[in-house]
Symmetry: C2
């Protein structure tokens, strides 16, 4: 890992990437490169699309509201995506942005908002969430851009669960068993991590979870955490025991 370097310039694009290709930037992308990053014609940057690895590209044909990228050479091969779902109860706006960024930095493959009884966010702006995911991927050197699912009611998500994926549930009422021991006892196969709302799941929701065979509760120590802290902590343990930190 690296601590983020604030000087890196990296852009997500939709189109395919191959040598010699020219990409016409959208107005928003051109604005970002020309007026936020203040790049000028001839500047080099990194581009990626989540499929074809990372490429060096040069900024060309700079006009007032547009520009083109000339794709020069591949600098990183596409890596295999991890397979960790991240289920979370959305928080209010700025805190939610933060939570989404953190999940991308921790390498989840899908963000799945779930609406619980105590979920605080009144309305979920999926476009904003997707834009946040892309921005975090740009800044954090991620080659695989996580998917963002439509929000679903928590009980429906549990009822529709496909049993092959283990759901790791950060349970505020779990007994104090070492989380590394709990994680070591989970069988092979894909994983999901669930972080509840601030204030916790209500008793009906918690019982629903604990009644399902695909659910494993883990304990994250004796202190109270904000939801985004618990998410990073749980994903660090999952990455270290089962993910790509090995």
């Amino acid at each position: 890992m690296a601590i983020r370097d604030l000087t890196s310039e990296r852009l997500y694009v939709d189109s395919g990437l191959s040598e010699g290709q020219h990409i016409v930037l959208s107005e928003d992308q051109a604005h970002y490169l020309l007026h936020v990053l203040r790049l000028t014609a001839g500047a080099s940057l990194l581009v990626f699309n989540g499929r074809d690895g990372e490429w060096r590209a040069d900024l060309k044909d700079v006009k007032k509201r547009g520009a083109t990228l000339a794709v020069i050479e591949r600098v990183r091969e596409q890596t295999a995506a991890s397979d960790i779902d991240y289920l979370f109860a959305p928080l209010k706006r700025s805190r939610l942005d933060y939570m989404v960024q953190k999940a991308v930095e921790m390498g989840v493959s899908r963000l799945r908002p779930v609406i619980t009884h105590r979920t605080i966010a009144e309305r979920i702006n999926l476009e904003r969430m997707r834009a946040n995911v892309i921005e975090a991927a740009e800044q954090c050197g991620v080659l695989n851009v996580p998917d963002v699912s439509e929000p679903v009611r928590f009980d429906k998500a549990i009822d529709a669960w496909s049993d092959g994926r283990t759901l790791i549930f950060c349970d505020e009422s779990a007994s104090a068993e070492a989380p590394l021991d709990t994680l070591a006892a989970i069988g092979h196969g894909p994983l999901a991590v669930l972080i509840g709302p601030e204030g916790g799941f209500d008793p009906v929701e918690r019982n629903l979870l604990l009644s399902r065979p695909f659910v494993t509760a883990i304990w994250l120590g004796p202190r109270i955490m904000r939801a985004d802290t618990a998410a990073v902590a749980a994903l660090a343990l999952v990455n270290a025991t089962r993910g790509d930190w090995r």
Copy 2:
């Protein structure tokens, strides 16, 4: 652990705590309880001082700018403090607040700001940092309030190191060894976790670190992280292998 419950009311006080005691609140404390939390005479809350455990207290003698707390009964015994130093390069204001809160939630015992060549924060407001530590401790059910040290230059902190404490350094250039294996190989004794500035340590600083026998570099996966994310991730692994998450 519990995800933070936004309805809990908890106050740090300086004075000793014992049954039947009366505490005259400072103007700031009275303002917080009466006008921010909107408590009225007779309301119960939790108080702690970092030494005598956690007590239930009742709000009394409410006046326009003051009030008294009557200490009723102890509800939690004081717990033993952990012994994890947290060394970090301060970030700019709002990000620094966040970083301090996270460290408290993760149970560090001392916050030690270090000034590196690439540290961004121009001026460090220690009063604000201490206030932030107390606020995070109030919100996160922490009984031991971490100390905040005066900022020191990074090289001086390393030169003055007392060898008994292992310094775990989240190294962006570390070889990809599983961090749980690295942590398992560290001997007993007190620990410190060091998170560098965004943009990383400069080569002179990194060589200084790697030349010291008390330093262990750990790798935190293939992605780039913000400094506060790396801090939570590293402290989660340390708590799970060596701290109070066992």
